[in-house]
């Protein structure tokens, strides 16, 4: 048995406080009025405007055209996050399946080409991507937002490594058991990959949820506004003597934190398993 070590706990508490304070501060500040924040700075104590602020943020029609509410933005971000996460898991699993289990020429060079795209972030290819999607008439659509970002080198890499660690005998046993490529994939590999799928899902959901530049470029229609853009627009109202609605920005930021938090909590077990354990 370990002895109780106060010093260890102290370090952990300090670490937790360090990480938690900004979040708490954002939440507390969102319950105060904007002018109060403007005068006094951020708060660590609860204010009185909380309910009103959140209700306003979620339901008030805002934006240039006055059609987009906070709820709408949450929905858009969710669609983006889920679309990215699901799409990337499916695409990269299939890609890795092809690379690992099918003997075709240049499989390894192809893998390395995919792998090097890790070095090229979205920002590098954002103009050509935009051009392609705009020519396809995909501006201001959900699929136009999601599809160009679906190919994932990270996901393909993780699944490839995972599939490589699956013993060959499983494939051979499945072949003797009369399973073709599709049945082996669905019946054996997919169930075995569940922890890995969860890990990729979380990473990609957060990635999609946090997208800012790409949606801003792809959508001009305010119906497609995401939370990230919403926060930005609130802070962009420095006209004359008007004070930005800090409280609303904070409220949106807090709201924006909830779904990724939910996803992580839901998949936590599998997530850790997927990244650390090779359970075969």
């Amino acid at each position: 048995m370990r002895r109780f070590r106060p010093f260890d706990h102290l370090i952990l508490l300090l670490g937790a406080a360090f990480l938690m304070t900004p979040v708490v501060m954002a939440f507390m500040s969102s319950t105060h009025a904007a002018t109060e924040i403007h005068m006094n700075g951020l708060f660590l104590t609860p204010g009185t405007e909380g309910l009103a602020t959140y209700e306003k943020v979620l339901t008030q029609k805002g934006g240039f055209t006055g059609t987009v509410t906070g709820t709408r933005m949450v929905m858009n971000s969710t669609i983006l996050g889920l679309g990215f996460a699901l799409g990337k898991v499916v695409v990269s699993m299939l890609a890795a399946y092809g690379l690992v289990y099918f003997r075709f020429r240049f499989a390894t060079p192809i893998f390395w080409i995919i792998f090097t795209t890790l070095l090229l972030p979205l920002e590098v290819r954002i103009m050509p991507s935009y051009q392609v999607m705009s020519t396809l008439g995909a501006l201001n659509t959900y699929w136009g937002l999601i599809i160009p970002l679906l190919a994932s080198a990270t996901g393909t890499f993780y699944f490839r490594q995972f599939f490589k660690s699956v013993p060959d005998e499983l494939l051979e046993a499945a072949r003797i058991d009369g399973a073709g490529p599709v049945r082996f994939f669905l019946g054996v590999l997919v169930p075995l990959s569940r922890p890995m799928m969860a890990a990729i899902f979380i990473i990609m959901f957060v990635y999609g949820w946090n997208q800012y530049l790409w949606p801003m470029l792809m959508t001009t229609d305010e119906r497609f506004f995401t939370l990230m853009r919403g926060i930005k627009t609130i802070l962009q109202v420095w006209i004359g003597s008007q004070v930005p609605d800090y409280n609303e920005a904070f409220a949106l930021a807090v709201l924006a934190m909830l779904p990724p938090l939910g996803v992580v909590l839901a998949f936590q077990r599998l997530f850790i398993k997927g990244l650390t354990e090779s359970d075969k």
């Binding site: 046993a173 072949r175 058991d177 019946g187 054996v188």
Partner: protein
């Protein structure tokens, strides 16, 4: 239920390595054939070619009268048991056994009946709804066998199925595999590098070396008349002693000792003597300088040198041994091999005592 026929089967890998060359073998219906040899001798490759997991470079494989060279593993009417069991980790024991049948579109109640039957045979009932990870090594091995049995194949293929088990369990499972195979009467091909496993299981042994068949025969025939020094050294424990000897003037000479009459002109030969065929003599015979004694409980193995050539002798446990032993062997227990090719020589040794008598 089927014969398996291998005709001039060979395997050359992409790099040009020849894993198996020109192997011809006929396996009778219901026979238990063990392929045995050191690692890298091509035994697993041969088995995998029969299974359809490796392409066949040359020759033909026939199972039950059907040439299967171009058939998928699932179409060959075989079932395989792997060394690491290769159970599907996410399925329960029951699902593991029935998955292959489901893929074959066998009716549900028939699947249930077959799984039931296999579980009864292998005493797997308490574990049917467990996942493989919750089972011990021996139980997993049973499940792997169950998966093979429910298929009701024409032949079982075993690829070192007992290698991952501990020594005691291996002996138990060995007996069970043998009993099960006899009961079902299914032809079986079994690969192992363990010569003891090979001896105890096989109806016939196939000793492989360097991708070629060295000898085929019933275990005791192979043991008593090894066709080459390779087989002599591989089958039996401790390994057969192989010593440089000479035929001269119609007699076999080792370390200046006359071991008996033998036909043929003067030449160097390799003499093989099993450790258990050597007996202690009061005087004369082969002088053995003792090096190490291994006590095994029931007996002991004495390692030593005859004229600087290593030799080991199995003796009963007992009294202290002197530093030098005098050994003799019956002439029938002396095996002669060609000193260069290692092949068995046709001559046999006769007692020289009779001549002098």
């Amino acid at each position: 239920m089927a014969e398996i026929l291998l005709e001039h089967v060979g395997k050359t890998y992409a790099g040009g390595t020849q894993a198996v060359r020109d192997v011809s073998l006929s396996v009778a219906d219901g026979e238990f054939i063990v392929l045995v040899g050191p690692s890298g001798c091509g035994k697993s490759t041969l088995l995998r070619m029969v299974a359809g997991l490796e392409d066949i470079t040359t020759g033909t494989v026939t199972i039950g009268g059907r040439v299967v060279n171009r058939l998928e593993p699932a179409e060959r009417d075989i079932a395989m048991v792997f060394q690491n069991y290769a159970l599907y980790p996410h399925m329960t024991v029951r699902e593991n056994m029935s998955w292959g049948l489901k893929n074959r579109r066998i009716p549900k109640d028939e699947i249930a009946a077959r799984v039931e039957e296999a579980a009864r045979m292998l005493e797997l009932h308490p574990y049917l709804d467990r996942k493989p990870r919750a089972l011990s090594g021996g139980q997993r091995q049973r499940v792997a066998m169950g998966r093979a049995i429910v298929r009701q194949p024409a032949a079982f293929l075993f690829d070192e199925p007992l290698s991952n088990l501990d020594a005691k369990l291996r002996v138990t499972m060995r007996g069970e595999i043998r009993k099960l195979q006899k009961r079902l009467g299914t032809t079986a091909l079994y690969v192992t590098h363990d010569q003891l496993e090979a001896m105890t299981l096989a109806d016939r042994l196939v000793v492989l070396n360097g991708g070629k068949i060295e000898q085929v025969g019933r275990p005791l025939d192979v043991y008593h008349r090894p066709a080459s020094t390779f087989v002599a050294a591989f089958i039996g424990a401790p390994a057969m002693n192989l010593l440089d000897a000479r035929i001269e003037a119609g007699h076999l000479w080792l370390a200046g000792v006359d071991l008996g009459r033998v036909e043929g002109e003067a030449r160097a030969v390799t003499l093989g003597i099993r450790a258990e065929d050597l007996q202690l003599l009061p005087t004369g015979g082969l002088p053995l300088r003792i090096d190490v004694i291994e006590e095994l409980g029931a007996g002991r193995v004495v390692h030593g040198f005859v004229d600087d050539q290593p030799l080991c002798v199995s003796l009963p446990s007992g009294a202290e041994l002197p530093a030098q032993l005098h050994l003799g062997a019956a002439p029938e227990a002396l095996h002669l091999f060609d000193a260069i090719t290692g092949k068995r020589l046709p001559q046999s040794v006769h007692s020289s005592a009779k001549v002098h008598a």
